[in-house]
Amino acid sequence: MSKHEDREMDCERADAWLEALVDGEVDPVQRRRLQQHVERCRACAAELELAQRIRAGLRALPVLTCTDRVRPAGGEVTDGRTTPFRPVPSAPPIRWRSVLALAAMLALILALPRLLSDRSAEAPSTPGSPPIAERLEGAPTEAAAAPEAVDPALVAAQEAEVKLALAYLGQITDATRHTVGHEVLGEKLMAPLGRSLRDVLLLPSSGGFGGERDAS
């Protein structure tokens, strides 16, 4: 196997210089070497021809005329009257309502086992147990410290629902071509929602679904 080469120019060098040759940006000495090589090497001659065709073909591609559908913004001035601007058609808007509804559903599903366990722990509390307000101030009761076990079948069913909801959320964001980032779901949605749920249900802060705020 041997490459086609001469003392001053081989195919690799010629190939590197073909575009410059077509552009007329090689010095006379280099140009003469290239031309001599191309005269001897038919493969490089074919490449040079293709480079020239590409150059000519690109130059032959026309500058296009934009349709009148596209108009200057800010209203068009014609005969002293201003026509209103037509907004550009763009990508479909994010279906935030759907996303928010799904996220809320997700938060509820995630919170449900905790709610159930806390409530079940609260129910058998003795008459002498401290009121909820005291618990919120940081004095955990024995009942709260030892909640009843949650039914594993219920947890499994809820896990399945969470996965379904996540898959559906993924489909929606994919269809709307938008990504709901972790910072949005976690910090802007889940954490506030979690805090709201805790406030409403008067549950002690336990770090569930991203809530960092103390119950106090």
Binding site: C11, E12, V22, E47, A60, T65, P72, G74, R177
Partner: protein
Amino acid sequence: MRGDYHQAAEAQRHQIYTFAFYSLRNREDAEDVTQEVLIRLWKHWQRLDKGGLRAWVIQVTRNLCRDLARQRSRRWREADAEEVPVDALPAAEDPGADAEAEEFRRRLSAALRQIPEPYRSALILREIQDLKYDEIAVALDRPLNTVKVYLHRGRKMLRRQLSEETLASAVEGDVEPAAPERRIDGGRTPLRRFGRRIGAGKDCVYVEA
């Protein structure tokens, strides 16, 4: 102010549309990009340095094309590509040559869309929109020599791509390959390997026939 804006917008919109079409190969997308650029031009009109208007417009157009192409990338198929409108092309005298030129133009504009940035932008601006090197350098915010390198590399990428297509077609038996098949001396046959370097970085090697 509005009169100046309209004059500038009218002067730029065909250039914006042309750039967007050759970048995206879709008329509606190109129109959307053009409209969006004109809106942004209006919004920034008072603060804009009018001397750098063309460069600003090109930069905004490039960014919008890049964003839209990214959005479309998951669903894009070559079949979705639109050709250059026939009415925009100059009429040819010879119908046979016209068909051949049309086919080459189709392959060329398809290959152009495959060229990565910033090479594609440099090629469109230089070869189709006929900007000077220094104008492209300002528009792309790159030194003049870098622009020349972009152009050379861009053309070389196009050549590689079109060579590969020709070779693939030849293998399938559709068309004759552009490169010669046989050398006279010593009964050796040149084996062209397009787009891939063989051995110690050589494009052109010869094997015994």
